[in-house]
Amino acid sequence: MARIFAYILHRGGVTDDSAAELIAAAKAIDPTSSPTAILAGWGPDFDLACNSLTASFNDVWKVANQALAYPNAELVRQALVRILPPESIVLALHDHFGIDLAPGLSIKLSAQFVSDVLAIEGADGSSLKLIRQEFGGQVSAHVMCDISAGAVINIRPGAFKPQPRLVTSGKVIDKSAEVGALTARRRYLETVVAEAGDVDITKHSLLVSIGRGIQEKDNITLAEELAEVLGAAVSCSRPVVDAKWMEKSRQVGSSGKTVKPKVYLACGISGAFQHLAGIKGSPFLIAINKNPKAPIFQVADVGIVDDLLEFLPELTNKAREFRGVAAK
């Protein structure tokens, strides 16, 4: 079996929690493997991050370069191509950085690429069997990847149960000199922080959250009326923001806000993992969707299969009675 590498993200001297998930993925490929961590960065914080990983990895490859002070995927890829041995298996997280890095890295390594992997069933010779999802999580698929020439595998955040720390006394190996000078045709300029918005959905104990099932902008008032009666805020999933029906500040998900309500009322939301990634603190999740096979029902506590546009007005009427508010 080829050597397995895990590309580890870090910030401010602290490595990302996903490092333990990548170890778990490596063990799923080969239970006897001892994956090598690779980190790229620059500065004193970077050394801290590398050193901290010696508790969970035997080998930590460090690529220090001033050009890598900000993780520019093009530069990271150049660096990795220069140091990775042939036929390596490289694991990365399927997030905004992994999506930027991995497909091109696989080409430059003449290796294969498997994207957004949820589970790995194991290897039979050079054939690795993995599980992905398609159609927004409505169905899963078994995928076979020929790893004889190496592979880059992107792991879905949160899909692999973190392995307990191995408590080894690993070592940092400095690969910086082998990398040499790096030049980019894409240059990082700045990060623009999201605008706050009129309502802070992260502060509410009840969210009435709407998705594609709301169908039209005018129907949003159905959710707003319910939220008003219950003292809740209206949040939404990505398609509602894409359609410009609500502000980005109302979006729950990996590219939106992370919320921690006590109760989350998912109205016409299919349940894509990017959306679920924004719901933390295990709220009581109630899903209303007309499609009984919507993935949201796999994570909800209680579900109702009904037409949202008819159910919401009924719920609002009942809520007025419930709260002792006279109907208009």
């Binding site: 520019n72 995927a73 093009e74 890829r77 997030d95 905004h96 999506i99 930027d100 991995a102 497909p103 091109g104 696989s106 080409i107 430059k108 294969q112 690429f113 992905r132 398609e134 409505q138 169905v139 899963s140 698929a141 078994h142 995928v143 076979m144 020929d146 894409r186 240059r187 990082y188 700045e190 623009v192 922080v193 104990s205 219950l230 003292g231 809740a232 398609p239 923001v241 410009k244 980005k248 590219s255 939106g256 006590k262 109760v263 009322l265 109630i286 899903a287 499609n291 029902f297 796999q298 909800a300 209680v302 579900g303 109702i304 009904d306 159910f311 719920l315 009942k318 809520a319 419930f322």
Partner: protein, 262 residues
């Protein structure tokens, strides 16, 4: 600016419930409604808007069988200058690398300053744009949610965590994968599609493109989907089976009991 957009025809998940076929190893493909992949439609709109600002041409390509013509005609109706179908029996069963190989062969036959793809399609892989860029040795940025043209370069914003945006400068030629929501794609009615009904859509095959046997298609694919399945559920919602009124009442009781009204 010469802009190429890669688009793909996919089952429309807003029109279909994707289900397993009776055999259990594929999805039920009878009566599936297909449309252009959502993110690709945003990519075409973005190309048209850039052309509107600085001039140029927009070429839309797809790798598909003859059914792919339908979405290309739709993109012509949106305003693309030309559309090309890359189609050959030997292309069938391509993995992501195979598709990128075919697209690269097409790029090599012309000259494009900017190549756009949608960020991901129905398989959620988000791979072809990044692979194509690496094959062409062009710079690449994924998850792009705004583009400005400045002094022969682009300033692009990428969507990163928490709704934040990462601003980059990128040299041309380059490949960008476009995130949904970057713009508001124009509406195309039946009338618009009828107006381009007679436009010829050229088809290029493996020999036209110089794609050799073994570099694309089923025989070249090293990443293969074996089957589709629906996993056994570790957890599933308790589905309320009462009347609409009873269900509403029950939900309100739950919302209160779980602390949602505090």
């Amino acid at each position: 600016m010469e802009i190429m957009v890669c688009a793909r025809r996919v089952p429309d998940t807003s029109e279909n419930e994707i289900e397993l076929s009776a055999a259990g190893n594929d999805i039920e493909r009878d009566e599936l409604v297909y449309s252009v992949n959502e993110a690709d439609n945003y990519a075409v709109e973005e190309a048209l808007q850039i052309r509107g600002r600085i001039g140029g041409n927009v070429t839309v390509v797809t790798v598909d069988n003859e059914e792919g013509e339908e979405i290309l005609r739709r993109q012509l109706a949106m305003g693309a200058n030309q559309a090309v179908l890359l189609s050959d029996e030997s292309f069938e069963g391509s993995d992501g690398k195979g598709i990128a190989t075919i697209l690269k062969a097409f790029v090599d036959k012309g000259h494009y300053d900017l190549i756009l793809t949608g960020v991901q399609a129905d398989d959620g892989a988000a791979q072809v744009g990044g692979m194509l860029a690496a094959m062409l040795d062009y710079p690449f940025a994924s998850l792009v949610n705004s583009i400005t043209v400045e002094d022969g370069k682009l300033k692009v914003s990428r969507e990163i965590e928490g709704g934040n945006r990462e601003i980059n400068e990128i040299d041309l030629p380059c490949v960008l994968s476009i995130q949904t929501g970057i713009n508001e794609p124009r509406y195309v009615g039946m009338r618009g599609i009828r107006q381009v009904a007679s436009v010829t859509i050229p088809t290029l095959g493996a020999s036209d493109l110089g794609v050799s046997q073994g570099s694309a298609g089923k025989s070249a694919a090293k990443v293969k989907r074996v089957d589709y399945f629906v996993p056994g559920l570790s957890k599933c919602a308790e589905i309320l089976k009462g009347s609409r009124e009873d269900n509403a009442q029950k939900i309100l009781e739950l919302v209160e009991a779980k602390g949602g009204l505090n």
